[in-house]
């Protein structure tokens, strides 16, 4: 006896509408490949470049609670804004975020990162100075590498002091592509 896609979808929608999920997730297609997007009642919680759910279920459950369920409506707002961003129609995200599981220093750095405007770049050292730790450029690099919300928190806009792209959790080609999309690279 196989559950029909329609019945399956109805259950997932009801569970979300009743507010029963600790965290809902879905796989969102994008020009840089499928993204796994997760959200809680508090806001957008995770974006993974590796969109295979099985890789992330346990970690999501540990951080947010065991009621983890795939649900399109749970990530609807983020999905729509990501679509608009990739279409070139959105230059800033208007989403609440849930940074549980992220250390205080990293949250502070990510807070500064969120202020880096669309189409511009900054450096690891500049971000470090902004959080009052001018010698912590390397630590800032680690925070960027573990950014729970890439694209939305724009770590692709952070480059080396000499202007080199340096690195990116989603791959340097993706970083370059995002910067081109924003007109920060020609």
């Amino acid at each position: 006896m196989t559950v029909s896609p329609d019945l399956d979808r109805r259950f997932r929608e009801s569970a979300t509408a009743e507010g029963l999920l600790d965290v809902g997730f879905d796989v969102v297609e994008s020009p840089i490949g499928p993204l796994l997007v997760a959200a809680t009642e508090r806001g957008l919680a995770r974006i993974f470049f590796d969109a295979e759910p099985e890789l992330h279920l346990e970690r999501l459950a540990r951080t947010f609670g065991p009621r983890v369920l795939r649900s399109a409506p749970a990530v609807d707002a983020a999905h729509r804004q990501l679509d608009e961003y990739f279409a070139g129609d959105r230059s800033a995200f208007a989403l609440d975020v849930d940074l549980r599981g992220t250390a205080p220093f990293a949250q502070q750095v990510l807070g500064e990162l969120a202020r880096v405007p669309y189409g511009q770049t900054t450096t690891y050292g500049t971000l470090a100075a902004k959080v009052g730790a001018p010698r912590a450029a390397r630590a800032v690099g680690t925070v960027m590498n573990r950014n729970p919300l890439p694209i939305v928190l724009p770590c692709h806009r952070v480059v080396g002091a000499n202007g080199s792209l340096t690195g990116y959790a989603g791959g340097l080609d993706v970083k370059e592509r995002l910067l081109r999309l924003e007109g920060a690279l020609l």
């Binding site: 399956d8 259950f11 569970a15 029963l20 065991p66 009621r67 369920l69």
Partner: protein, 176 residues
């Protein structure tokens, strides 16, 4: 000693059990009612899920929720039910609640087999599915549970220990 299984993320639990639960409900009610009961089963499971202390016997657990819903649904669906006298229930609780309560002291597999067989009237085939075992093993577990419950009932006055439980004589009748 084996480590106690941790509660899996709900997504994995749901994907693993959704077909079994739907099949179980379809055998007991019509298509639309089965689909409604399917949704309600997993919504109830989800409501209770963050209070589970371990991931053992999840299949028996979710089928117990489904069985309870199936019983409630069939009671509501009976058109002449309101004309019938209420069945005498000694302590105001339905049979499945009484048996579940009485079986509390049994080992988990015997308890599950006994409750699913006598309180929810499941076939041994269904119980085997619930317990991930064979119908024969399910039958043996239920019989062992009955024997153990009998010896418990003979050894003690259950009324004294559990004031709301039915008289021991009635348990014997029911489980004989």
């Amino acid at each position: 000693m084996d480590a106690v299984a941790t509660v899996p993320p709900f997504e994995r639990f749901y994907v693993e059990h959704r077909d079994i639960v739907l099949g179980f409900l379809r055998k007991r009610m019509g298509g639309q009612a089965a689909e409604d009961a399917f949704q309600e089963t997993f919504l109830r499971a989800l409501r209770a899920y963050d209070r589970l202390e371990h991931g053992e016997h999840l299949r028996a657990w979710v089928l117990t929720i489904a069985a309870r819903l199936a019983i409630d649904t069939s009671r509501r669906a009976r058109p002449t039910a309101h004309e019938l006298p209420e069945l005498p229930v000694e302590d105001g609780r339905p049979a499945y609640a009484q048996i579940e309560h009485l079986a509390d002291g049994l080992p988990p597999t015997e308890r599950a087999a006994l409750v699913l067989r006598y309180a929810y009237d499941l076939s041994y085939d269904d119980i085997a599915v619930a317990l991930s075992s064979s119908p024969e093993a399910a039958r043996q577990a239920a019989s062992a549970g009955v024997r153990r419950l009998r010896s418990l009932a003979q050894g003690r006055d259950l009324r004294e220990q559990t004031p709301s439980a039915p008289k021991p004589g009635r348990i014997h009748d029911r489980l004989a």
